[in-house]
Symmetry: none
Subunit: 250 residues, 2 copies
């Protein structure tokens, strides 16, 4: 059983039962106690759970992206630079789509306030958008706890009612051959449709996303421009012929 599988299982169990015992996890995953301990340590560092004697307990946080707190501040700086650049692409009068995701959230403080209309499926975005008095529409559909995103069939149908000047999203993988990918099929479909409904599409991604492939395909590279923080020479060669890339430097 692979590490991400175990992590997923642990979090799933934790969500259901509130607490899990280490011994149960050992039996369930058929791995050693050491491995489970390491898993728990990692997940605790990422603020996904709280370790307790004999196991782990769910922590009741607020509506916050766990991965936000998990990432280092350097990473957050990069994200913010990328987000800032992306936000400046938005012009007065635009209607834009903001996909769920922590990098996209960082765009909101930099958006031009007046005369823009935002459509989003990101529950995390809502508060920041309303605080800035930006005209905001939320997609309807199933609320996914993990990523705080609205997804599912209803979400697709809901999204179809809009058209956008620009759309912005994060992805998990960017690959010359396989294009943009993300782990969740449902989220991939939403992103896919958002791109097709937009005049221009932008993918916000730090350098770790390049050459990665996740499970579900969103679209080919040429369908969206990439905004990133760094790109080595090899990568530039592989990608620049297939799509537009803007590298934002500090």
């Amino acid at each position: 059983m692979l590490t991400p599988e175990r992590h997923k299982l642990i979090l799933q169990l934790l969500k259901e039962k509130g607490v899990v015992k280490i011994q149960d996890l050992v039996d369930l995953t058929e791995t050693s106690e050491s491995t489970i301990r390491r898993d728990l340590t990692q997940l605790e560092e990422g603020k996904y759970l709280k370790r307790i004697h004999g196991g782990a307990a769910r922590l009741k946080g607020k509506l916050q992206e766990p991965s936000m707190s998990e990432k280092s501040s350097k990473n957050l700086q990069q994200k913010r630079q990328i987000a800032h650049y992306a936000a400046n692409l938005v012009e007065e009068g635009d209607s834009i789509y903001l996909d769920a995701g922590s990098t996209v959230t960082e765009m909101i403080p930099f958006l031009p306030a007046k005369e823009i209309v935002v459509v989003t499926n990101g529950l995390m975005h809502i508060q920041a958008l309303l605080e800035r008095n930006i005209k905001t529409f939320l997609i309807g559909g199933f609320a996914k706890e993990q990523t705080k995103a609205i997804i599912g069939r209803g979400a697709l149908a809901s999204l179809e009612n809009y058209r956008f000047d620009k759309c912005f999203m994060g992805v998990n993988g960017i690959h010359p051959q396989f294009g943009f990918t993300t782990p969740d099929q449902d989220e991939a479909m939403i992103k896919q449709m958002a791109i097709s409904l937009s005049r221009e599409a932008f993918v916000l991604a730090d350098d770790t996303k390049f050459s990665e492939i996740a499970f579900a395909k969103i679209a080919e590279l040429h369908t969206a421009a990439i905004i990133t923080n760094e790109l080595n020479e090899d990568q530039r060669e592989s990608y620049s012929s297939k799509t537009t890339i803007k590298v934002v430097t500090a």
Copy 2:
């Protein structure tokens, strides 16, 4: 059974019953008396309870829990009572609609967790619902900053896709002649449609809402049952012939 589990259980029991006997805890947790004693000692040190001969008692001061400290006002107490009663009306397997509003939010901790489906237009509800792992669908549409509600044409269209066993909402005015009313026309339309899509409809209202009239009409009195905290004799006469009223007392 892990230590935090026991602690949680003890506090839970204490909150419900006021006092617990050590022997009961021993039987319940299937641990030794020593362990329970240690638990009680620790919890007393943390000011979560008071030890008494033979067991433990809830302490009546404040700050035994964050939720305690936040619910200071008498008004909130009333709301919570009303909400608690309403939540108990929900049965396993129900699909319900929860309208935006603070009283309705208070229902969420009391809802049966499993096998229910919730549809809502209340952004404030989302966090609490997801924390409880309740299957949640959000209506799509315009996000209104003031009331943190999804409203507008899109919301109505989005809502039409669902059918409910029960729906719950707050209102601003209840009047024998003018029925249920609220200040915002758009919100009124949502509530109206929610009622028409439900087998049963419930209005949660404290006593200050009676004989009030707000701008926009939602529906006639007979379309929804009222759950309230108090009702004087005159009011009972005026309303009880027109609709079902449940008075929840302390």
